[in-house]
Amino acid sequence: MRNVWIVFKRELIAYFTTPLAYVLIFIFTLLSLGLTFYFGGFIEQGDASLSSFFSFHGWIYIIFGPAIGMRLWSEENRTGTTELLLTMPISPWNAIAGKFLAAAVTLAVALLFTVGIVFTVYSLGQPDGATIWSGYIGSYLVGLASIALTCAFSAVTRNPITCLLISVTLCLILVLIGFAPIIDFLRGAHMNTLADICNSMSFTWHLGELARGNMRIQSLVYLITLAGFCLFLTSVFIRSKRS
């Protein structure tokens, strides 16, 4: 636990001593609020809910998750510090957990900067507090899953851009397979089972359900399992790279 904390501290400082975290948080806040007001018809809807706000998060995480997570291991691989870190008397899991938690905190800070919209919607009407919580939890979990996925691929490359491209593609797929037009197309072609499978594996559907206040245990379990599996994959990649 102590080792996780030491790595976590170093990584968090690394995020906030370079402009990276500030730029990403700024862009995240700008995009999530901007998209909601301009394209989400937030005001026009006349509905005191944040479901349109959260529905954009899935799309934003396609870029944002990989952008936060890409440096986690690829930078260490590039500069060779992996060798330093993994010859310290700590287990690779300590390092993986510490790094992931630092990225998770950065994501939390980014989400925290959007709470302005919560006050807005409270001033507009009487929103359901539980739904807002559920939406934030859903958004956070989808963000964590996209970071974990990026983390896994950053372990196999020394180039952050390669990692970014691979992870963006995978996140895009996870969003698209729940995208309404694609699901409708599959159903139209009488591929209902496939449509259901795609839906249940997508970020879009789980985020949508949680944003509507539908706090289903399956969604939580799926997103947490996906993140956990990706972190496990990270440890496998780290080990396989060395043997």
Binding site: N3, I6, R10, I13, T18, T87, M88, P89
Partner: protein
């Protein structure tokens, strides 16, 4: 302190380290020599637990690297090749990080960091960001990280690579000093370095040990070692040459006989007959009334030895 048994590493079909065994005791500084790609770094990476071996075992201070990696890693300080560092940290924060990972806290950590800064002469740059440091300082920062917990075992992969002659000297003296109380393995391309600070040297080629001994022993194994260069003045050159080849310890006699003497090289019949040939030549000159103007026994050079052992495979 360090026991390596039948260590092998394969990368796909390529054999990087081939059934290598060696042991290093406390107080020993082992120089690790070999051409590029001989398996030096791979071996060191296996000793430090970075690479898992394909076969064989590594034991450090009685702890097996595969069975109890953390206990074994605690005993090791490691300077990886090209001295990697976290560019975004300052020297002090980096050393604090290393000390914390080594389990230090509070005043023990503070003392360890300031001691490492002193030992590696980093005082001037201790608050500087690592990415602004010159190569010499970077190397020493990474070295400071390796010695911060006063480990029993030091593994240094090319610790003097890219340093200027003064910095090299500083690092060499550090190694020599620390070698009194630790077991040290360091790799290098610079052969004079081995003679300057190693108590023992190993030459590896294609993942195998091809020579193991003190630098002097290795040097003596070079083909030219033990040859005696002479310049003798006397009545007739050709007679002297004949006399020389009749000596009990003389092998091949090479050189020019002139009317008034002989200049040349006499190879010993048997390299082990250390110094005997010189004594015989001296005796011969005395008894025959010849003037011995020059007598010099070749001590052999580590470079020659290194080339002879490792060049066949490169052709």
């Amino acid at each position: 302190m360090i026991e390596i048994k039948n260590l092998s590493k394969h990368f796909g079909p390529k054999v990087a380290v081939d059934n290598l065994s060696l042991s290093v005791q406390k107080g020993e500084v082992l120089g690790f020599l070999g051409p590029n790609g001989a398996g030096k770094s791979t071996t060191m990476r296996m000793i430090t637990g970075y690479l898992p071996p394909s076969a064989g075992s590594v034991t450090v201070g009685g702890e097996d690297m595969l069975d109890s990696p953390n206990a074994a890693k605690r005993k090791i300080g490691y300077l990886p090749e090209s001295a990697p560092l976290y560019q975004d940290m300052t020297v002090t924060s980096f050393l604090n990080f290393a000390a914390e990972l080594r389990g230090m806290n509070g005043s023990a950590k503070k003392d360890a960091v300031s001691k490492a800064i002193d030992t590696c002469f980093l005082h001037k740059v201790r608050h500087q960001a690592i990415d602004t440091l010159s190569k010499g300082y970077r190397h020493r920062t990474c070295l400071a990280q390796a010695i911060i917990h006063d480990p029993e075992v030091l593994i240094l992969d090319e610790p003097t690579d890219g340093l200027d002659p003064n910095q090299k000297d500083v690092v060499r003296n550090l190694i020599k000093e620390m070698g009194k109380t630790k077991a040290i393995i360091f790799s290098t391309h610079i052969l004079e370095e081995v003679e300057a600070c190693c108590s023992r040297a190993i030459i590896i080629d294609q993942g195998r040990i091809v020579a193991d001994g003190t630098p002097i022993e290795l040097r003596r194994r070079a083909t030219r070692a033990g040859s005696v260069h002479v310049k003798i003045e006397g009545p007739s050159g050709s007679d002297i040459r004949q006399e020389l080849s009749n000596l009990r310890n003389a092998g091949n006699v090479d050189g020019e006989a002139a009317a008034n003497g002989f200049t040349g090289v006499i190879r010993p019949r048997n390299k082990a007959s250390n110094g005997a040939l010189s004594a015989e030549i001296y005796g011969l000159c005395q008894s025959k009334g010849l003037q011995l103007l020059e007598l010099h026994e070749d001590q052999g050079r580590l470079d020659d030895m290194f080339r002879e052992l490792t060049s066949q495979t490169q052709a």
